[in-house]
Symmetry: C2
Subunit: 228 residues, 2 copies
DNA sequence: AGTAGTTTTGACAATATTGTTAAACTGAAA
DNA sequence: TTTCAGTTTAACAATATTGTCAAAACTACT
C-alpha cells in the first residue's frame, strides 16, 4: 500500500538511494523546472521527464504539486540562512565584513543559481511563500545574513569607518549587484560573452569589482573621517 | 464574421474605444498577469477576468496566447528602447551622462514596473523571446541605451575622468542597482517599509543614492587622474 | 522459493485550459 | 426600418493537467 510510510517529502527515503536517490532526483528536477517556470507555469510531467521517472512517483513522494514546491523552497531557504550567517559575525573591520558577505553571498548564488531564480520568481508573482519565510526569519534577530550586514553597515557609519550614506539603499545596492547578474545570467551572457566559457573567472571578477567599487564609494572623504 | 479584419493585435480597433478600449484593456491585463506568472503560468481566463471581458475576446483580438504574449512583449521592448536612448547622446560630462542614464532608467522602470518584471521573467525561463529582441537591438549600433552608456563609460576611463575600472562589470552593477529593487519590490517592501506609502520618494532617494555611490566609487584617486 | 515490505508503473477519473463556432448584439449608414 | 460590418457572448470540442488506484516489480530477509 502507498500510505504515508516513509515518503512524505520529509527527506528520508528508506532503502533505495541507487544512483542518486529517486527522491533527490525529483527534488533537483523540481527545482530546475520551478526556477524557470514558477509554481503555476511548471508542469508535473516536465519535472518527471527531467528526472526520468514516472509522473506518479512525484505524487508518491510529495503528495501534490504545491507540497513539492513548498518542500523545494523551504530547503533552499534554510540552506541559504544557515550557510552564510555564521561567518559574518567573526569579522572585525567593516572592510572584512563586506568582503566576507559579498564573497559568501556570490558563492552561494553561484552554487545555487536555480534556487536564487526560484526565489526571484516567487518575488515576481507576489511572493506569498517567500514573504512568510522572510518575515519569520527576520523575526529571529541574527539569523538573517542581510540584517547582520546591514547592522554592521550602520555601525561603520556611526564609527566613521565609511561615509554617512543611506544604510537601506546601500544594502539594497549590495544585494542587487550580487544577485541580479546571476538570476539574469541568460541575458547577461549576451552582453558579457566571456561569462560563457569561464564562469568561475566571471564570479571572481564580480566579487573583486563589487568590493572594490563599494569600498571606494563608501570611503570617507577627507575631513569627514571619524577615527583611524 | 470574425475574420482578420481589424483586430490582429496590431493596435488599432475601429469604432469602439469606449471606456479605454477593449483591446487596450486586454493588453494591460495581459501584461499584468504575464509579468507575475510568465507565459506558461498565465491563464487566459485570469487575463479575461482582470480585464472584465469574455475570454473569447482575447482570441478575437489576439488569436492565441503566444501571439498575445509576443504583442505585449514587443510593445514594451520598443517603448523602452525609444524612450531612453536619445537623451543619452546629448550629455558631455560623464557625470551628467551617468545621471541622465540612471534617472531615465529608473523613471522608465518605475513607470513600467510590470514590463520590467515581464522581461525578467523571460530571463528566468531561458528568455528565447527576449534574447532575439536583444540581439536584434544590439545589432543596430546606437539604439540600445545600455550600449551607449557603456561606450561613454569606456571613454571616461580612457580620458581619465574615472578610475580604470572594469567596464562590463561596472555597467552590470549600474543596471543591477537600478533594476533589481523594482522587480523585487514585493520583497523590498518587507525590508524597506517606507517604500510602501511613498514610492515617489523612494524612487528619488534611489536615484540620488546610486549616482552618488557610483561617482564616489569611480572618482579617480589622487595621482591617477588624467586631465581636469 | 516464499514472504512482507516498499517502490514503480500504466491506466483511469476529474478537472482545467485552450481555441473555435454560431448566434446574438450594437451602432451607424442606406 | 433594414442592412451591414464589426463586436460580444455562451456553448462546444479537443486537449492538457492533476491526482488516484490497483496491480506489477523490486528488495531484503527467511
Amino acid at each position: 500500500m502507498r500510505t504515508e510510510k516513509t515518503p512524505v517529502g520529509s527527506g528520508t527515503a528508506s532503502q533505495p538511494a541507487e544512483d542518486g536517490g529517486t527522491e533527490k532526483r525529483i527534488f533537483d528536477s523540481a527545482l530546475h523546472v520551478f526556477a524557470r517556470k514558477g509554481q503555476d507555469g511548471a508542469r508535473m510531467q516536465e519535472i518527471a521527464d527531467h528526472a526520468q521517472i514516472n509522473r506518479a512517483l512525484l505524487h508518491y513522494y510529495f503528495r501534490s504539486k504545491s507540497q513539492l514546491y513548498e518542500a523545494v523552497f523551504e530547503h533552499g531557504f534554510n540552506q541559504f540562512i544557515s550557510g552564510l550567517t555564521p561567518s559574518l559575525k567573526t569579522e572585525q573591520r567593516f572592510e572584512d565584513t563586506l568582503r566576507v558577505f559579498v564573497h559568501g553571498y556570490i558563492d552561494y548564488i553561484h552554487r545555487h543559481q536555480e534556487m536564487a531564480r526560484l526565489m526571484l520568481n516567487e518575488c515576481l508573482c507576489g511572493g506569498p511563500v517567500l514573504a512568510s519565510y522572510l518575515t519569520r526569519a527576520l523575526g529571529e534577530p541574527g539569523t538573517f545574513p542581510g540584517m547582520v550586514m546591514q547592522d554592521r553597515l550602520r555601525e561603520a557609519v556611526e564609527a566613521g569607518e565609511i561615509r554617512p550614506v543611506d544604510i537601506e539603499h546601500t544594502m539594497l545596492t549590495i544585494v542587487s549587484a550580487c544577485l541580479f547578474p546571476f538570476v539574469a545570467l541568460p541575458t547577461v551572457r549576451i552582453f558579457h560573452p566571456e561569462a560563457e566559457g569561464d564562469l568561475e573567472r566571471f564570479v571572481d571578477e564580480r566579487k573583486r569589482h563589487i568590493v572594490d567599487l563599494l569600498l571606494e564609494g563608501l570611503r570617507p572623504s577627507v575631513g569627514e573621517r571619524g577615527d583611524g
